[in-house]
Amino acid sequence: MIRIKCPYCGLRDHSEFNYIGDATKLRPINPELANDDEWFDYIYIRDNPRGVHQEYWQHISGCRSYVKVLRDTVTHEVLKTGLPSDDLLFSYEAEK
């Protein structure tokens, strides 16, 4: 069991959440102007890092928020959580 801190509901069991996926891929802000490579990267290319990973979990059985989670894929340790607009990796590195 991983425990995840929802920014709205507090520390909760991971069974209340749905795992969504990589949170580092941003949808092209101007879809018309983005080229094929950018679309391809956004839709298909996912890193599978050993270590720190920024990902989305939806608090499906709670407030239904999309929670950004910084998790270590080796230890499963949840290092940081926040809102979709937060850059957790940046603040995590800065705090280190």
């Binding site: 069991m1 991983i2 425990r3 949808r27 939806q58 999309y66």
Partner: protein, 1006 residues
């Protein structure tokens, strides 16, 4: 008066022990009635009755006796209870004796004393490491041999009857979880509890105190039991401290979540009424103190497995806690001080202790003097090199050890004994520490692996941390409790460490194996011998993890609790490497075998998954509905009439009746299961524009529109109608199966992609009951039902939406059609669903209204060529389904960009067509593969597949199907073959337009 009962318990000491002699208990072992006392375990009661032989070994079927007194027991595994409650492989050492207990020995046939498989023992060399793999695996007859091998090597067998007991789950939260209620755990609970921290202390026994329960230590010059009693008294008075007894932590998971099993009723013949058998605890702690103690190891020498040989600590536990003589004539063999404690305890209780054999050459004066006083011979620098006896030990051979411990003197001395108590040192119980992610490190001073770095918030303390003396346990526990409470923000309190009366310790000298011939068991449960490990090494096994799997060392139900350390050390010696280099295998949950019952808890049978019933369910049930599972929903599949039996023939009749009735007059279907999402906010139109492929900004208020949703990769995701109720308010419907994923997708878009949009969405699926009324007479029936409003084409045209009322009940009415008939969908608040349905049925009686189920609904949609789940299969594009007209070129939407990729423009892509068997009657199985020539050589080129179908269209009088085929509508008129090789089906089909019925859509107007 007590003579009869006591005669049986010939090995019971006349006084002492934590048993209640006023409460005798009757029990049966292998059918033989025996007596014990309250406070006994099954193992102690068996020993009291002089039952030495309790099982046969796994591979060699050698006679085995009780080897330990605790959870680590490798031998005394019994089948407990009878019938449906039979519990195989239960450790006799852990079973609290109860009245009427029945246990049977295992792995013997026909009985313990005459076991035909004993032949394996003589065929010994055959059963070496990897024997099964080497001998049978590659042979063609493996399946033939497997049956006999499994029968011969099996542990206990289980019953197939349903478990009559219930199980529960419990969630617990605490600041500090303390696992283990021995001196370390109690000290930690006291010091942490006094700070006010929320403490949960769990222990697997009924009695807290751990090893102190059965040791004769003094604390502050008083018996240790008094210290335990006062500690428990104080803890019981603290409101912030919870004590859970008979509760065993079996796994330490991520985020400091610890799972434990509480044996609520395992000590009773059957659970009390309304009480569960076991309870699964899921404990979420901020900090976890692991105070799980240590386990004594055996020594590895020839024939070290005979009944009558047991761990030194177990021998004194039986004497001290249960007042049982583990033997009449004892020899102690040890490489550390523990054996002396046992020798003294046993001798003081009147047992004839013949000798203490110590492999070391030195021991301190305290023990020498003690043994002298008691008249026990001390043999230093020596070892037991062999044992004698068959069903029970009769004696041991002793020889002196060379200084390098690699050889023994050629002369040996025989000592007659029926008990050999052995101690090879103690291994800290690092299991939970390993589960948490820790890697144990070798500590040479105690010849054992101890916890290393911390990976979560786990804090091993006391014996589980390698601190074996009582004073160290109390000190570490106390300090750890204070430290963690302080870290969590609780204030310090004053405390003191009590005094103990322990003698100084002479260090252990590692002794991993004793030279000699004959079987030297390392893993006594799995019958892994020292020579198996040698063989594995000779065959090139280097890693301990590989050694484990090759020899099965540590793979039994005891998970190598007594054997791993010896096995790994012997491997290290064979490799000529240090133990720290060779390492140890990782322990994984569960720490003890766990039954499936508590893991399932109450989530069994009907409670396994929620059953969703629509608001109209009762009416369906009363009116002959046969239900089908649609996800969690129960939906009427078809309705039987007047007591019709549920046969295939009657099903076909019912479906035909429903389709004909609807197309001929009027029918009604419950569509409450469709996903419904309420959308509000100033940017609602813009939001719909971005998630649907078609345009939404120009949709008039009071109008509905069919919408198509794509995934980002351009594949069709879902479809449904969405209606504009007011300027900024929409009512969306989704397919039943995608209701949850569409909602999540929309939430993702709003929260992640476009948080700037002013849109709020909410699932309203369960708030509204919905029913579709279809057929040429649908308007007449509805007009009769509703209050006042006019339903003419002028006020409610096709794709129109109206807010009306039925008997004063507010209703939303949509003029939409899935069947192709003039049709309406009526939505009312769920609480009125059944009422409104009944009203419409009543009003429709004169028009011969008929309810229809999902089968008739599916047939009518296929007749109309409407796509559904079979076509929206996660592989199709709008173009594949002939829906290009729904793709707006004037705006951006999810999935638009990837629609334009080359792969989607490939003219060979399979596209939607209709299919009819050329013979007009063959049933075409959904999923059949479409090929040009069924006799073509393999691999046969595939043209497409059948995506959905009706075995009979009542309207067209022949089977119809939809399929996806290369070329699509260009092939109309051609014939191909639908094949299902698994079923041996090959049928010729004609390709036709996917709209089979009413191509012009004239029936929509009634």
């Amino acid at each position: 008066m007590f003579s009869k009962k006591n005669k049986q318990q010939i090995r019971r000491l006349s006084s002492g022990g934590l048993i209640d002699r006023s409460k005798p208990i009757g029990f049966k072992f292998d059918g033989k009635p025996l007596m014990g006392y309250v406070g006994d375990t099954l193992a102690s009661a068996l020993l009291a009755n002089n039952v030495k032989l309790v099982g046969r070994s796994f591979k060699y079927h050698r006679p085995r006796g009780i080897y330990t007194a605790g959870t680590e027991e490798p031998n005394a595994l019994v089948a407990l209870r009878t019938d449906a409650r039979t519990e195989p492989n239960t450790r006799a050492t852990n079973i609290e004796l109860f009245d009427g207990l029945e246990a049977k020995s295992q792995n013997r046939w026909p009985n313990l004393f005459l076991d035909v498989m004993q032949i394996n023992n003589l065929a010994g060399p055959l059963f070496t490491a990897g024997f099964y793999y080497k001998t049978f695996m590659g042979m063609p007859g493996w399946h033939f041999y497997e049956y006999f091998i499994r029968k011969a090597a099996g542990m206990g067998s289980t019953e197939l009857e349903r478990d009559p007991d219930t199980y529960d789950k419990k969630n617990a939260f605490c600041d500090i979880l303390i696992i283990g209620g021995g001196p370390t755990g109690l000290s930690a609970a006291l010091s942490a509890g006094r700070t006010g921290a929320r403490v949960l202390i769990i222990d697997s026994s009924k009695l807290l105190g751990g090893q102190l329960i059965w040791e004769l230590d003094q604390i502050d010059d008083k018996p240790a039991l008094q210290w335990i009693e006062s500690a428990l008294k104080e803890l019981n008075e603290m409101k912030n401290v919870t004590i859970a007894r008979r509760t065993t932590a079996f796994g330490y998971y991520d985020s400091n979540v610890v799972n434990a099993i509480e044996s609520v009723s395992d000590h009773l013949p059957t659970p009390e009424p309304h009480t569960v058998r076991q309870r699964l605890w899921q404990i979420r702690a901020q900090k976890v103190i692991i105070a799980t103690g240590a386990t004594e190891r055996p020594l590895v020498f020839s024939n070290n497995d005979r009944p009558g040989i047991m761990l030194a600590s177990a021998a004194r536990r039986y004497a001290n806690q249960f007042a049982v003589k583990p033997g009449n004539r004892a020899v102690i063999f040890a490489n550390n001080d523990d054996g002396y404690k046992t020798a003294v305890n046993l001798a003081e209780k009147g047992i004839d202790v013949r000798a203490v054999v110590d492999s070391r050459t030195y021991v301190n004066e305290f023990w020498k003097t003690k043994l002298d006083e008691l008249g026990v011979e001390l043999i230093l620098g020596s070892a037991v090199i062999n044992t004698h006896g068959h069903f029970g030990l009769t004696g041991v051979d002793i020889a002196s050890l060379s200084s390098d411990q690699k050889s023994t003197s050629s002369q040996s001395t025989f000592i007659s004994a029926d008990l050999l108590a052995i101690s090879g040192g103690w291994s800290p119980n690092v299991h939970l520490y390993c589960h948490a992610g820790g890697r144990p490190q070798y500590e040479a001073s105690i010849a054992a692996f101890v916890p290393g770095l911390r990976s979560q918030s786990e804090y091993p303390a006391g014996a589980s941390n390698g601190a074996f003396s009582l004073i160290d346990c109390i000190t570490e526990g106390t300090n750890c409790g204070i430290q963690l409470a302080t870290e969590l923000g609780f204030s310090k309190t004053i405390f003191s460490i009590p005094q103990t009366d322990e003698p100084s310790v002479t260090p252990i000298k590692a002794l991993w194996r004793i030279p000699g011939k004959g079987k030297k068991f390392v893993d006594i449960q799995d019958d892994v011998t020292e020579s198996d490990i040698k063989l594995a090494h000779q065959e090139g096994y280097i890693s301990v993890e590989h050694l484990k799997r090759y020899t099965t060392l540590g793979m039994g139900t005891d998970q190598g609790k007594t054997s791993n350390m010896n096995g790994h050390a012997i491997m290290a010696e064979e490799r000529g490497e240090a133990i720290e280099t060779v390492g140890t295998t990782m322990f994984r949950p569960p720490y003890i075998p766990i039954a499936m019952g508590p893991l399932a808890g109450r989530d069994i049978g009907q409670s396994y998954s929620a059953k969703r019933k629509s608001a109209i369910h009762n009416w369906h049930h009363e009116n002959g509905a046969i239900f089908i599972d649609a996800g969690q929903w129960l939906r009427p599949q078809y309705y039987l009439r007047n007591g019709e039996a549920n046969t295939t023939q009657n099903m076909d009749l019912a479906i035909t009746r429903e389709v004909k009735g609807t197309r001929g007059n009027v029918g009604m279907v419950d569509v409450s299961t469709l996903g419904k999402i309420d959308i509000q906010g100033a940017d609602s139109s813009e939001f719909l524009n971005r998630i649907y492929t078609n345009g939404w900004t120009k949709l008039a208020i009071g109008k509905a529109r069919y919408g198509l949703m794509l995934r980002e990769d351009g594949i069709v995701f879902d479809d449904g109608t969405t209606s504009r109720l007011s300027e900024h308010h929409y009512f969306m419907t989704t397919t039943t199966s995608n209701a949850a994923s569409v909602l999540s997708h929309m939430e993702y878009c709003l929260q992640v992609h476009w948080p700037d949009l002013d849109v709020k969405i909410s699932s309203i699926t369960e708030q509204w009951a919905a029913m579709a009324i279809a057929g040429p007479k649908s308007r007449d029936v509805l007009q009769k039902t509703i209050d006042e409003e006019d339903l003419s084409d002028e006020t409610l045209p096709f794709m129109g939406v109206k807010q009306i009322s039925i008997d004063g009940i507010p209703a939303l009415i949509f003029r939409i059609s899935f069947s192709g008939e003039l049709a309406y969908e009526v939505n009312v608040p769920a609480d009125y669903g059944e009422y409104v349905w009944r009203r419409i049925m009543e009003k429709g009686t004169t028009d011969n209204i008929i309810p229809y189920g999902t089968e008739a609904m599916a047939i009518m949609r296929i007749e109309k060529g409407h796509v559904a789940g079979g076509e929206l299969d996660g592989r199709t594009t709008p173009d594949d389904l002939g829906m290009n007209k729904l793709i707006s070129s004037k705006k951006e939407f999810i999935g638009r960009r990837l629609l334009q990729r080359d792969g989607f423009l490939d003219p060979k892509r399979p596209k939607l067509v209709g299919l009819i068997p050329t013979d007009g009657k063959s049933r075409i199985r959904t999923g059949s593969i479409l090929v040009k020539d069924p006799n073509a050589s393999l691999p046969m080129p595939k043209l497409g597949h059948v995506s959905s179908g009706a075995y009979l269209s009542p309207t067209l009088k022949h089977p119809i199907s939809l399929g996806l085929i290369t070329g699509g509508s260009k092939r109309i008129g051609e014939t191909v073959w639908a094949t299902s090789p698994l079923h041996g089906e090959i049928n010729e089909v004609k390709i036709v337009d996917p709209v089979f019925y009413d191509k012009q859509g004239e029936r929509l107007n009634g």
